[in-house]
Symmetry: D2
Subunit: 469 residues, 4 copies
């Protein structure tokens, strides 16, 4: 079998960002944004930034690092104003952290500074760039956020109407995006017509609004969930209140289904669907689709645990926690010695032999991308005494790369695109291996009041056409 995999690479789909915004005159919007970003830190740990407007202009601070490393009291105090946007960016594994990619992106639109924060990926950046170029708009790095800001500005400079600029952008850009934009006196939030990336609105107890990638960002600042930003919608918050309009017609609904599987925090509610309840339902459904004769059900922490509870519930096999996660694994010295290299996954996870010894286990994980982590996990569980390891995955086989904001590599790195199920089972070393069906996954999301998800990573059916190589 010629399928070789590098030993130490990340084996989890990785997303790019969190966005957060506040409009709240009289309140400490920089601090509110700082707390909001802390709650969203799981969506990106490479860089953090906050830009604040005070009616006249905007001031920004951003740098590489966690929210609490980038911001201290002095910087927060300097960020005075009543409208703010914030951003956390994902740290691409291996690549050097990129100082210039930190957001929010500051640009000039209709003679004021605006700050744009973006979660997602555009698929027609090049075309949009060419179009702007043809109209005489020059671009710097050509990042998604720069292209978006330039496009907004290009229209706005003539119309002096920022939402017209945003509308033009939404009419011309394609892909997945959840964007928040602050001008010196207003906050804007808008979302792609398919609603691929999440974005929700909350009301602060003292008045004013917050916008957040996930509802856990509302909870931490005491905001009440009001509603999600609708697909294709533009919502503006200013001293006149909240004004919503349809930037582009909503298209086929296609919320990223992976948010429910892995990315989002379990205490978040995305488009009306509790992430926690979804994960639990995935487990229940998978238990019916792919039962296993076993003594215990375990979840791989953190995201696999609610699904394991669901699997246990439906199968009658007792749930247990049996894999401990090390909360303090850091980045500074990460090259173990040769002796220690083989441990791999053990730096992060440690199984409990007293729990799993001699037991037949059902182990629930969220997904399999390259397969090497699963392989190490199974080996570690066997070493800890597991009699059998039945691996159950609450997402279908990942067969296609994502082009909408998630880093899932190319097809030749996706194990499921290169092996049959029996081959995978053998390579990973599990006693049995099963993935939830796509129908099953859909069924686990009953509260979403719309029919559709983006399932391209499972089906190759890209809701927004992409430039496949």
């Amino acid at each position: 079998m010629s399928f070789t995999l590098p030993g130490q690479l990340a084996d989890t789909p990785e997303e790019e960002c969190a966005v957060f915004g506040v409009f709240a005159p009289g309140q400490d919007v920089a601090r509110i944004t700082g707390f909001g970003l802390q709650a969203l830190q799981h969506r990106g740990q490479e860089s953090a930034g906050i830009a604040v407007g005070d009616g006249a202009s905007m001031v920004e601070a951003k740098d590489l690092g966690l929210v609490t490393q980038v911001f201290d009291e002095a910087k927060l105090a300097a960020l005075e104003g009543f409208v703010a946007v914030g951003h956390c960016r994902y740290s691409t594994s291996g690549a050097a952290a990129s100082w210039e990619a930190a957001q929010p992106h500051i640009s000039a639109i209709d003679n004021v500074l605006v700050a744009l924060a973006h979660n997602g990926t555009l698929v027609n950046t090049e075309a949009l760039r060419a179009q702007l170029d043809a109209e005489g708009v020059v671009l710097r790095a050509g990042t998604d956020s720069e292209v978006a800001a330039k496009a907004i500005g290009h229209i706005t400079q003539d119309t002096h109407h920022l939402r017209q600029g945003i509308r033009w952008l939404m009419e011309h850009m394609e892909g997945a995006y959840a964007m928040v934009l602050a001008s010196p006196d207003a906050l804007y939030a808008f979302r792609d017509p398919n609603g691929i990336r999440p974005l929700c609105i909350g009301g602060l107890p003292g008045g004013g609004w917050v916008v957040s990638s996930e509802t856990c960002g509302l909870d931490i600042v005491g905001a009440t969930y009001l509603r999600d930003v609708e697909p294709g919608e533009i919502v503006r918050f200013n001293r006149d209140g909240l004004t919503a309009e349809q930037g582009v017609p909503a298209a086929r609904r296609a919320s990223c289904i992976f948010e429910y599987v892995y990315f989002a925090r379990p205490d978040s509610v995305l488009d009306g669907q509790s992430v926690y309840q979804a994960r639990r339902a995935m487990g229940r459904i998978l238990a019916r689709e792919a039962p296993a004769r076993a003594d215990l059900v375990l979840g791989v922490p953190d995201s696999g645990v609610p699904a394991a509870l669901g699997f246990a519930e439906a199968s009658g096999i007792p749930f247990t926690d049996g894999i401990v996660k090390n909360r303090y694994v850091g980045r500074t010295f990460i090259q173990p010695t040769q002796e220690m290299r083989q441990m791999g996954i053990r730096l992060k996870l440690n199984p409990l032999p007293s729990v799993i010894g001699g037991k037949r286990l059902v182990v629930i994980d969220d997904s399999i991308v390259r397969g090497n982590t699963s392989r190490q996990l199974v080996a570690m569980l066997r070493e800890a005494g597991a009699a059998e390891v039945h691996l159950r995955i609450v997402s279908p086989e990942v067969l296609w790369p994502c082009f909408y904001g998630i880093d899932t590599d190319t097809r030749d790195q996706l194990i499921a695109a290169n092996m049959t199920l029996p081959q995978m089972n053998e390579w990973i070393g599990s006693d049995s291996l099963a993935f939830i069906s796509l129908e099953g996954l859909r069924a686990s999301l009953p509260d979403v009041c719309h029919p559709g998800f983006c399932e391209a990573c499972f089906t190759g059916d890209y809701v927004v056409p992409v430039p496949l190589p």
Copy 2:
């Protein structure tokens, strides 16, 4: 009711340290210690230090911060040798981090540098100090670790026999201690005669030994658990192998029972008892001692979860996870605005309304010290829709301060020492409140092959006499 409590103070007993040691010629002992300390980081986050010996002398690096903040590749590479000790120190809430209190403590004994790392607290430091003083030994800060090192050195300078010095120390010092000491060519580990603080020994796959506060420190470096250091025992590791002797006769066995309740990582095995299994048993026993009529059982993460599983198991009430812990709460800007101050606990914990809404809950927590966190938790659960909150605590009422290495304040700050159970239930706001009985807690630790624990915080029966005010 005049019992007032500060609003923002920590409400969990807090321990002081982790110790780790390696003797492994030919291996990167500094790096092994670095990984070991990472696994033990939950026992202390204020400072980290590693001292390494190479047969001739010792080199040390230590500073304030997490292990991964204090050490980088350059420093690890500079710490060459074959024997090492490491230490993580607890960050006392509120007090300024103390640079000079970082360990290991370097001293001179019999003409060589030695490095001592200590977990625990001595109760006769003053007496020991006076005795040394009477014999002409002068002391600097008079910290436990300095007094201990000076005492060892005082004897050893005459006998040229380090273990004689350690023995003399053990014969004269009283309290709780788990100490590791490295001379340039040997590692020593010794433990108080009551075995209050934990300390275990592991064998490295490539040869050599490690000593660790908990077994999770063995697991991360691939070491095999061999045994615990016995109460009163001195174990030496050098090129001649492992040599054990009884430093002082073992006394009444008194392992800190709180290690099982709260401090230790669940994947650790202390004195033969799996922490995880103990916590699970606590839940089972508590379910029988203090049943509740409820729909769901939840644990307060992280330590309450295994007990909640046990409670569910014994009571038949379904277990669920329903409180999400924010993994990224940092230290840099911690003063929320007035609006946000009332959230308090929400910065760390967030309940899942979709899980607990309308439900009667049994909530399992490890302990109640001051009570204010419990009060906030109950309020937050009710706000999230809980119909009833039955609080079940897997430790008895904490009535007495600890003098053996844990920071549990004075009696007037301990809620259980100042209120009756009904008063506490009312003040905290729970529908019912129950603590496990001491007998029940003991029964949850069946694998400990000895009869005794230190239970002074519950009983006031201090195994080692203490200077009560």
Copy 3:
């Protein structure tokens, strides 16, 4: 005598900034700016910033610290483009360093980002602000640089002609200013109509231009001095070359005479006048105006040394260096013990007893502001054995505060505004004290091809009307 002075305060007039700009396609403009700012670091050590444009947009990095502390290779590499402006800001003694005051100031003008760096102080900021306010332009902090940028933008948004905006600003703002402004594709430099603050232009050997507060900024990057920016002139550098126009008519010429006395580096040439030659001439003239019977002439390093050479030249009294400056006095721990406090000035300066012992000294210093440094200096020289100390100052008595970019306190802190010459001589402890006459100072600047200087600090004749309290 009731004139009391604080013991440890700075006793030198302090200026606010350095500005630097580059337009050089194909060259590493961020690095060139970094080196330029290093040469200008003496003008400000609090913060450093660089903004770079690449035709499309601008990127900026700035923070508190020296140039070499704020910028590393990674940040310089991220600042790609062909036009740049940079800034160093002065650290106000005592006041907390201000993160938000760091420049360049980024703003939005006619739909692009522009970066403005400013050296000087406006005197009608409030009026300008009110005027902008009346026209509906809202301002944030209201700093000089923000007001200036907003004013430029206000006009430019209608005319789409940036230089029209700059012209409007120059027509309406009053005070001292040397400004550089970068748009994404052009560099602008402009200077107040009196030419109070210096600003010069250089040509790079590989093509392109640099603009610098002083010519030493040209030298370090190998640029050839072309000419100064003329009072009231706007110079634009873009792909079409250098274009100059008169923004406002030049007014009464009033170069800050203190630049020659103290601020500028001696290797700089300001408005055609070598700073070094000026200082030397000051010494010669002072020797004739206020001769002294002495054995040796010394200068207080660094700025007093060339003047001392001139004094020696004209008086025939031999020059010597006899006061050594400690180059490494830092900021971290600056509170000496009581014993050490009395040393004061000795932390920076150390006299040579072997040189001055038993000698009658003429000591040349640039200026006396509060007088306390002079007092300590004289005491220290006497302690080192000086037989007589004749203090000669190459600027006239500082009687009035500066409002054009220099921090010289209020009148009640200026010793010369509160004492007669004999009183000063007595308080300072010198054997004789003399200041150069204003005519003498003027005569030391023969190469300036214009008649006038700003001499307000000596005369109270403010070239631009100021709001005196």
Copy 4:
């Protein structure tokens, strides 16, 4: 001509260290040491360290960086005691800064911690090491300071008399050394029998003593110079006062003559000789030995300036300052672009064309090692308009490497060892080139009350036999 030289390497002899010590009960010895090290910072900028004893033990803090970067108020405050030693280490150009080489070196001697700080280089480290090895003393890194400390300890452990240990060490080690050693209750200072490296003693105004590599370290803390530590002498400072004894008989006196030429600060007095006066005399003597027909005399700052004053004095040619030194050249981004690389020396030095234009110059520099800096300097002076450049060097030709603490490379890198004087003059590009004679250099040091210097770098006559390759 085949003699090629790398373009960017340092071209100045480089020394290794500064040492400082204090014994002063009741005073803040850590702070005093911090100030002392600041005054000595010119002797080493790579690392800084302070160790403090309080009678009982020692505490140390050290790290890479300048004194003011390594120490802040918190660290100084933690270093409580009444005896201290400090050290600054030189940063070897090019080599990575070495964390583990930072001093003071802590070791264990006779059951206490002692801290040793060392300036100099031993030539028989290997032999000493072998001898210790034969006697069963094992060594770690084998650095000079470790070997020295181990040797002291080896004897002291039997005799319990630290000075006996120091004596044994002095009897057996060969080379150049000025060492300070702190035990918890005493300070020791000792110096090689030839007195190669300087070391002096001062009395503090509040009582107690300081020891310093140079007298400028006394001045900054207000200490009065008492005397130098004599060659071969051991001086102990403790509560009984100052006790001196001869550790080894003084040998042929051989003070490093290069201290006077280049290393020491001009305000220091070494072995009774004012460095400043020596440099000035060098210039006078060189003027007589190698006169030049010129208009002006300049010194290359900082060390060449006093010699230039002397040359001017003796020759009647006017002295001027004409080369400005940039005080802020840092280390962070040091790779200039290709365009800028050719500037080389200009990043540090900038000549004044208005001073030197059209003039015939005598330029005084301290020494020529590789010659490339001189070559760049001459080219830069010509470019600035110098009509003629007559280079005069106040040290003889450097023909031999130093083995006593200075980094002067190997013979094949020393230009004077590879070229005749006319060849050097041609290669460097000067109009004439002359070095002071050795007799002349000696004559410039009249105040040294002893006959001898170490002049090995000029003569190859190594006062202590060295292992020449």
